[in-house]
């Protein structure tokens, strides 16, 4: 299938997917779609069910949490090759905990999370690879969150 080839090429260009075999790419391509978002279009909202994991190919996508008293708080801006919605492939599937919105016109890959999980379950090698990639995304985000907590700029710089 033509479209599959294109998709597979897209997938293979994602560093996150490096080292995955062609055979698995073909499998993943079965439940992967390309998605265009116009500026300000919402990808998913806080409270939605977690069905897909996304990879940004082009553009910029904001992850925002709504706080009743402080309004929309942006916690991360995903750019090309960033993964969005990683929690969809963790064992505990919640509702979406944040809203995701395109900041500019953007293109994403959307991967069916349940099917990806199933594929991982059936195939431990692939599962290990995917899960270790997911964990490094999580580790990166956690590190970022932690650093944000440190409030670098809160303390004044030295002087005098």
């Amino acid at each position: 299938m033509d479209i599959d080839r294109k998709l597979i090429d897209r997938l293979r260009a994602v560093p996150w997917f490096q080292e995955i075999s062609l055979e698995h790419f073909e499998a993943i391509a079965q439940f992967t779609r390309m998605l265009d978002l116009a500026k300000d279009e919402i990808l998913f909202r806080e409270g939605d069910s977690e069905d897909y994991i996304y990879v940004v190919l082009k553009g910029r996508v904001a992850i925002e949490v709504n706080s009743p008293d402080r309004g929309k708080l942006r916690i991360f801006t995903a750019e090309a090759l960033d993964v969005v919605g990683w929690s969809a492939v963790t064992p505990v599937v919640r509702q979406r905990t944040a809203t995701t919105r395109a900041v500019v016109d953007s293109t994403l890959l959307s991967i069916d999370a349940a099917k990806l999980q199933q594929l991982c379950d059936d195939n431990c090698d692939l599962g290990y690879l995917i899960m270790s990639r997911v964990s490094s995304v999580i580790a990166g985000r956690l590190m970022g969150a932690r650093m944000q907590l440190l409030d670098f700029y809160g303390k004044q710089d030295c002087e005098e």
Partner: protein
Amino acid sequence: MTMSAVEDKMHVEENAMNPNWAVIKKIETETVDTSTLWLEFEDEEVRKDYKYSAGQFNMLYLPIYGESAISISSDPDQEGLIGHTIRFVGNVTRAVSRLNVGDRISVRGPFGTNWPVEESKGKDVIIFAGGIGLAPLRPAIYQIINNRKDYGKVTIVYGARCPSDLLYTGEYEEWRSHDIELMVTVDHADDTWDGLVGVVPMYFYRLRPNPENTVLWSCGPEIMMHFVLYEGLARKIPDNQIYLSYERNMKCGVGVCGHCQHGAYYICKDGPIFTYEQLEPYFNVEDL
């Protein structure tokens, strides 16, 4: 004891600490608590002889209030006014914030080590700056731009607490036009912000440095630099190609008042810019 002994007086001058007057020629407001003061020495000789390198600092003295170490933020290759981007957080700098064009201020310097602008020619340069930490890096950025073709890939990741705290926003386009990749991120975004969110070290993952041929320069809150360092080391950038700029309480600028000691270093003369190789023995020693 005869009186003659006491009358044998000595007149003592301590020129290293003496004031050196400059006039404020221009003030640029950068953020709500930060401005850039453009200074010119009153003395023509001093004006002519004054040379500095990217990353060095001056001691600015305001009578009554005292003296404060402020890094130079202008282009060392350019003659003329000397820029100091100052955040008004202490007694001295708050007093400086009340000065106007035409007022005088004393400038001692330049002091300290510099960014290895010359030595880094032929290499990729990665710059991580946070908050006011962009100020001492700006001279280096200017010098890179002055000789852009001498450098490989140049990437700047700059972050501040919120969009209104960002420095030199009017220059970003110019920098980018010289084939510099500039990522700007804020910790706290507001509705108007459509750029990156998060602390600067977090964005290291987007760079794919060729470690052997990369120099990493960082200036900002110490804790931020440490995370930048960890990311740099994780990507195998060699210890002696990572440069961090430290700050400490300083009084003299010449390594003799003792205040800025950091292990065996005097930050004012052995620093403020160190390689990680130099800092490594003292790294993560609490309260050193």
